[in-house]
């Protein structure tokens, strides 16, 4: 009997040890008994704003005693955050404040709880007019869903620009002023790939359709029209044809995943890269060549449209106290200095009108950095990142990604686009 007692007590000891290790982590929660805890979910990895989030949260927590903000990182960007949100909802929980990627605006507002900022402001007299003061109407409207509800407030704002490796461009004799339209970019890419040892162009191929949207909508086609997929028309075909030709015919464009493609640009193997402004810091810090930036082009004679990348901040809790607390934190995040820090740390554009004028470093950055300049000036051409209505948003986005992969591998453009459009519209019913 003694021996088995030893075994049992060993077992118990181990379990005790494990329980101790576990409770240490959770005891922090109970100490916050008096204060309201705001769970803030973000997607900012260490390499992209994660530190800024920590700093801002710390500053806010230390500045007052009633609220504690607890940030939580979600891997896999906005898609990953949506998955986690979904899983949390399955377990019956919800955080207080979340970053919702623009393309998930509809999916989120249709499947999860949120409270409009206007609702909260109604009860706080000092905040009357806050929204009008802080945001440009077209920027604020980005966070309005198809039913007209204000899902949240625009926070991370990015647009795609063309990053230029000036060393390669100079070698090939291409000047930034030449890049006035997508047709011109195609020419330049061809020149670069023929006269130097490098690729002319790389358009980011991420786990979303963002870059392609910019391409297509700048040829006056639309991804979504009236709640339905509408990209399979002449202009849409033309836009994709240009893209596909660069890869399969000219062989001037690089066709590879976004991680590797961005790496290729930073190591100096690509002349022009169509990437998000959020990559600014990574690129300018690590490139050994002269980097410059110009705005995304449109097609000849068409109007420039750039989809807004990034996210909105939404308050998802239905606990009134937490809603108030989340709102307080939100206002803090929109102060000029906080926005300046956010822009510096992430490369996202300032979403508020008063940030640039009230923060000198930010002003300097905007004035001097060609990449920031290019992105900032595109703000007036901002369009929403096509958010699909209804519950099939996740699938619809996946179908667009699949379509891109098929076309770039050589599938017939018209056929593929028509088929995908039909598939998506069937889903949306």
């Amino acid at each position: 009997m003694k021996a088995s007692m030893k075994l049992v007590s060993l077992l118990l000891l181990i379990l005790l040890l494990a329980a101790c290790g576990n409770s240490e982590a959770s005891s922090d929660d109970t100490q916050n008994g008096e204060k309201t805890v705001v769970d803030y979910w973000h997607v900012n990895a260490e390499t992209q704003g994660g530190q800024t989030v920590e700093e801002l949260v710390k500053e806010f927590n230390e500045s007052q005693d009633e609220i504690i903000v607890e940030p939580r990182y979600n891997s896999g960007m906005y898609q990953g955050l949506m998955q986690n949100l979904q899983a949390e909802a399955a377990a019956g929980n919800a955080p207080a404040l979340v970053q919702i990627g623009w393309s998930y605006r509809e999916y989120f507002s249709n499947n999860f709880h949120f409270i409009e900022p206007q609702e909260i402001i109604k009860n706080i007299s000092e905040d009357e007019g806050y929204l009008e003061e802080k945001f440009l109407p077209n920027v604020l409207a980005l966070a309005e869903n198809n039913d007209g509800s204000q899902v949240g407030l625009p926070y991370s704002l990015s647009t795609p620009i063309l990053y230029l490796n000036m060393d390669i461009l100079n070698e090939a004799g291409v000047s930034p002023e030449d890049l006035t339209s997508w047709e011109a970019v195609k020419e330049a890419a061809k020149t670069i790939s023929e006269s130097t040892d490098n690729y002319g162009l790389y358009i980011a191929e991420a786990a979303d359709n963002w870059n392609v949207q910019q391409l297509i909508e700048s040829n006056d086609a639309a991804i979504i029209n009236d709640g339905k997929a509408a990209f399979a028309n002449e202009q849409g075909f033309e836009a994709y044809q240009l893209y596909a030709d660069m890869i399969t015919e000219d062989k001037s464009a690089l066709h590879i995943g976004s991680d590797e493609g961005t790496q290729a640009f930073v190591t100096g193997d690509v002349g022009i890269a169509h990437l998000t402004i959020a990559q600014r810091k990574n690129i300018s810090d690590n490139a050994a060549f002269e980097v410059s930036g110009v705005p995304s082009p449109a097609f000849d004679g068409e109007q420039l449209k750039v989809p807004a990348g990034g996210s909105l901040l939404a308050i998802t809790t239905d606990d009134e106290e937490k809603q108030q607390a989340a709102w307080e934190f939100t206002k803090f995040l929109y102060e000029a200095d906080s926005i300046a820090a956010w822009t510096e740390g992430t490369g996202y554009l300032p979403p508020t009108v008063d940030a640039v004028d009230n923060n000198d470093e930010l002003k300097a950055l905007m004035d001097e950095d060609t990449m920031m300049l290019s992105a900032y000036h595109q703000l007036e051409n901002l369009v929403p990142w096509a958010p699909f209505p209804g519950g099939s948003g996740l699938q619809a986005e996946q179908l667009l990604i699949d379509m891109r992969d098929k076309i770039l591998a050589g599938a017939p453009i018209e056929e593929t686009m028509k088929a995908t459009q039909e598939e998506i519209n069937n889903l949306l019913q």
């Binding site: 009997m1 021996a3 088995s4 030893k6 075994l7 060993l10 077992l11 181990i14 379990l15 040890l17 494990a18 290790g21 576990n22 982590a25 959770s26 997607v43 900012n44 990895a45 260490e46 390499t47 992209q48 704003g49 994660g50 530190q51 920590e54 939580r72 990182y73 979600n74 891997s75 960007m77 986690n84 899983a87 399955a90 377990a91 991420a206 786990a207 976004s258 991680d259 961005t262 790496q263 930073v266 190591t267 100096g268 998000t276 959020a278 990559q279 810091k281 990574n282 690129i283 810090d285 690590n286 490139a287 050994a288 992430t346 490369g347």
Partner: protein, 274 residues
């Protein structure tokens, strides 16, 4: 014996090449972890950094609760290992030394569970753990990991190598089962058990899929999860810090392996499938 020396040289070359391919990535990771990111991009081939720096490691420990994360990984791996060893040991004892109705069938069922892909059990396990409130906790990660029939298989094989007469005479002398297990069996197969334990420990340490489903807040992360924090679609992969995390993740398993390799390789080599 007297091998054709040409053949010998040929095969030695092939083996050295293979070893190089297998080991090179580790050395590469080590070198990269001491490079500043700019050098990683622009100085691709050098394994030895031109401007070595500890910044990646220092920054890592400053930005993430690495100690906590390592402790989480360690705790999970330890508990999983001990629990697996215990229940597999008991189960193997029953299978090796007893005959009972349905034994073959039950054994078959357990071995069959090895063939169940994790996708079959992941959703319900996730839902069970969430409903027990273990969603973000190490117990949520630990519990399902314990049900691994490979443990039963391995310890079964090991136990069968013990001469049966030893056990038989102990039973005749009326020694209790617990005494047999602890005083007779355990000492005889200690090296094999240790090796199996290390194997379980390292596998749990390196486990990624299940912890990534369960653990959501950085404070409860394990090392492999911390690693994927440095791979971001938006901001670019910070390879130099990612390599630093990789090295930290590798240290304990590699140490265990290198220190105990004689035992480990010996155990696996001896057990085989005979």
């Amino acid at each position: 014996m007297r091998t054709n020396s040409f053949l010998g040289i040929l095969w030695h070359t092939i083996f050295i090449l293979t070893v190089f391919i297998l080991i090179f990535p580790i050395i590469f990771a080590l070198g990269t972890s001491f490079k500043p990111l700019q050098e990683v991009y622009n100085n691709v081939l050098n394994i030895i950094p031109i401007a070595p720096t500890f910044d990646n490691y220092i920054g890592l420990f400053e930005r993430l609760p690495m100690i906590q994360i390592t402790m989480n990984t360690f705790t999970i791996a330890t508990v999983v290992t001990i629990m697996k060893m215990l229940i597999s040991f008991l189960a193997a004892y029953a299978f090796v030394y007893f005959d009972f109705k349905g034994k073959k069938f039950i054994y078959f069922i357990f071995i069959a569970s090895i063939f169940i892909p994790f996708t079959v059990t992941m959703i319900p396990n996730y839902l069970i753990m969430s409903s027990w409130g273990l969603a973000d906790s190490i117990f949520g990660v630990i519990l399902p990991q314990i049900s691994d029939a490979i443990g039963i298989l391995l310890i079964n094989q090991t136990m069968r190598s013990i001469p049966f007469s030893l056990i038989e005479s102990a039973r005749i002398d009326n020694i209790s089962h617990s005494r047999i297990m602890i005083d007779i069996i355990l000492p005889l197969i200690r090296p094999q058990l240790m090796s199996t334990g290390i194997w379980f420990f390292v596998n749990s340490w390196n486990e990624f899929v299940w912890p990534s489903l369960m653990l959501k807040s950085v404070d409860s992360y394990t090392l492999p999860l911390a690693l994927q924090m440095f791979i971001s679609a938006e901001g670019g992969t910070d390879l130099s810090v990612a390599m630093a995390v990789s090295i930290v993740t590798m240290i304990i398993p590699l140490l265990l392996y290198l220190v105990f390799q004689k035992y480990i390789i010996g155990t696996f080599t001896a057990s085989g499938i005979k």
